[in-house]
Amino acid sequence: MIILQTIRSFPHILLFKRSSQRTVIEADVKRWVEIRAPGRLSHSALKNITWLLDSFPEFRNLFYFRLGTYAGKAGKLLLFIGRILYSPNETPAFAFCEIGPGLYIEFGYGTIIGPRRIGENCWINSGVTIGYKNDVDPSPIIGNNVYIGAGAQVLGPITIGDNAVIGANAVVLRDVPPNCMVVGVPARIIKRDGERVKRFSAEA
């Protein structure tokens, strides 16, 4: 079984070794292993990449996104073969954007990730949309350590501060300050720096 996995992930390992994004992918792998199987942290990065590619189709999407700008004919051929051996899911879908290291995606069915920028160590659930509100304004900027719950939508030219938590099914259309928790349609702040905020005292 392990031999089969090694053969299947051979192009991926080659691409990973030659990639300029190597440190970023290493950070991703560490985060995924930390969340999914902390017992595997002592294994080597290559072993863990093989395991993640085999177990989580959504990790494949992230992996191919990280390698996306890799140039050269040999690289493109390897990527083509790799995509056949470990085919990614249709979603999560990534737009061309800057995403910090350590992004974790839980399932990611129907997740569209199209921000201007995402910080480090963010967590995105299934059914999330990050993108445009209309055809004029740019898309959101998301800080570090942001958690986006299942089915939430983050739309328009807004900024989400560091350590923010966006609840399930929230629709976020305004800026969210750092260390806040927002829920609802449209989203409003319910927690600021860990303390509960009264219902109509502050708007998100």
Binding site: I35, Y109, G110, G151, G167, A168, V183
Partner: protein
């Protein structure tokens, strides 16, 4: 269309046979009531062969589970490759009661403690933990979870509850309640009219 003989063989040998037998008429009633005169086996063949009903295959493979003998495991692998399940559904529940129906299985995540009999789940539904490693929900019997609803954390949903579209449930709901909104609130309870 080829008969799914392997599936029928596995189904007859499975310990979950009774549950699947009770699932079938409910799926037929929701999907295509004109086929209600078919026998149980004929209906199963129709459900497994219909390409637009891949979510039934997810439930079927969940019920069959991981067989004990190696021969059965190989048969199951072959069966799976000939009738592929939908890859946007994740079911991780110790026990789901009979008569469980998933309608339009796109982005359906069901990680619960227990699910009762005759429940109905639509697309975009997430049933799972609120914080990683936290508790999981318990669903009673005859619960109806509408489109896009999220049930998060260690909550208990009473029997015969209806959860409205796009609502977020993070608190317990009593039996016979109808609830909706973000966060959820009851709009009718047992004995009252909405």
């Amino acid at each position: 269309m080829a008969l799914p003989l392997l599936h029928l063989f596995l189904y007859r040998r499975s310990i979950a046979r009774e549950s699947i037998e009770k699932d079938i008429p409910r799926w037929i009633r929701f999907i295509n009531p004109s086929l209600s005169s078919l026998s149980s086996d004929q209906a199963l063949v129709w459900l497994l062969n219909t390409e637009t009903l891949k979510e039934f295959r997810n439930l079927f493979y969940y019920r069959i589970g991981q067989p004990a003998s190696i021969i059965d495991r190989v048969l199951l692998a072959v069966a799976k490759s000939s009738r592929e399940p939908r890859n946007t559904i994740s079911i991780r529940v110790p026990s789901i009661g009979y008569g469980f129906v998933i309608k339009h299985g796109y982005n359906v995540i069901i990680h619960a403690e227990r699910i009762g009999v005759n429940c109905l789940v639509f697309q975009d539904v997430t049933i799972g933990y609120k914080t990683p490693g936290g508790g999981l929900p318990v669903l009673g019997d005859h619960v109806h979870v509408s489109v896009g609803a999220k049930i998060l954390g260690p909550v208990t949903i009473g029997d015969y509850s209806i959860i409205g579209a796009n609502s977020v449930v993070t608190k317990d709901l009593p039996p016979h309640s109808t609830a909706m909104g973000v966060p959820v609130r009851s709009i009718s309870k047992a004995g009252s009219t909405a």
